[in-house]
Symmetry: C2
Subunit: 238 residues, 2 copies
């Protein structure tokens, strides 16, 4: 019997119960833009990120003096300090600080998987760091896309495919699911031109309409940072 650990892709948070079968490590992926912002922020010196699922919780933290980032529908929620634009998380004022974060999709995925053994944040900007981390751990991995309101989204799937290919191509991992094969195929055709490939994607159109093209380019640039954010007891740190 094949004893190698598995790597499987789950497209969206609503499918998590269907796919979860005791995977040891869950990688949360929200390329546009929550996990990219978390990676950028922690790499920039943010001390920790506290993800919360609802705007109501975020308001409570704000009332207690925290720096709070809140995004809904691609925009900073009125009255909050930050959204999920990764470039705004590079602000030197955030170094050494704790940031509370709620987003449309990414923090929902974290919430769904919060009881798993071991959760980390993946994005294209920390792609190789994630692959190396998972190779060292050598355990069963689920790559969990955040989607858009529980619908399949292309950029998270391509990132999942990139991580899967990074693990499968070493021969140290195996996969069984068609969702993983499809993600890998999509990554292989996208990798030479992410921007062009995602041109028609719904999420990119949504952000382009909000004048977020520079943000999109940042999010689609592999290996800008070398960190693997880890979720533990409600907090994300390095």
């Amino acid at each position: 019997m094949d004893q190698r650990p598995t790597v499987e892709v789950c497209f969206t948070p609503n499918l998590y119960p269907l796919h979860f079968d005791g995977s040891d490590i869950i990688v949360i992926i929200d390329v546009l833009r929550a996990t990219t912002a978390i990676c950028a922020g922690l790499s920039n010196g943010v001390k920790k990120v506290i993800p919360v699922a609802s705007v109501e919780e975020a308001i409570e933290y704000r009332q207690n003096g925290f720096i709070v980032a809140a995004e809904r529908k691609g925009m900073v929620v009125e009255g909050f300090d930050l959204g999920n634009s990764p470039r705004s998380w590079l602000n030197p004022d955030l170094v050494g600080k704790t940031v509370v974060l709620t987003t449309t999709n990414g923090t929902q995925a974290i919430h769904v998987a919060r009881r798993c053994q071991h959760m980390i944040m993946g994005s294209l900007i920390n792609l190789d760091a994630v692959v190396q981390y998972l190779r060292k751990k050598n355990k069963n991995v689920m790559l969990l896309g955040s989607g858009w309101k529980n619908k399949f989204c292309l950029e998270d799937t391509i990132c999942a495919g990139a991580i899967a290919e990074g693990l499968l191509s070493t021969g140290e991992f195996r996969s069984e699911e068609d969702s993983t094969i499809a993600s890998k195929y999509l990554y292989l055709s996208a990798r030479d031109n992410y921007l062009g490939y995602l041109k028609a994607s719904s999420h990119r159109r949504r952000l382009r309409d909000l004048n977020l093209n520079e943000d999109i380019k940042y999010c689609l640039t592999p290996n800008k940072v070398d960190v693997v954010p880890i979720y533990k007891n409600g907090e994300i740190t390095l």
Copy 2:
């Protein structure tokens, strides 16, 4: 505003409620093998097919003298006349007959969508016929994959992508969802070699282990028949 009808892909029956927003026509897709068998059978002269969701219902029909096809886990259920091997549906003894059918995935997808306005059966073997049919109707279309026990499956997605590309490439239809874009991309990379592309797919492995390679080849050959099976009041006919 863009007034063209939409074409969208829903990967699996469990996602139907999330994706359904009043689409006028639902195309059920179960390449391996329910919708392929239905297309083959009706094209061969089968009078009608009655899809039922459970083996229990199938047994009742059998007790009432019907020809009943029942498949679970890729095999003919013990005691039944037929499974969902399309080639067995080409048997001349079936001409003019009614066949009751229950399968692991395909008949579940039909069951989920049974209250929609207008439902037809799609497969690779009737690909062009389906595209021409939908172009004539010029209404909003959902392409509903059957998946494998509600998990994403590659061959249904590729078939959905082929139908979507057939409609979108005319300029007469539009799509909004990333699931549709991904299906189209997967189809475009698969179309020159379906068998090779699907080599690693879980479903194909499952059927290969059952010595069903000839069946798979039949199911993956586009445009073998020129029929569009229509579901109405619990029955599928031409």
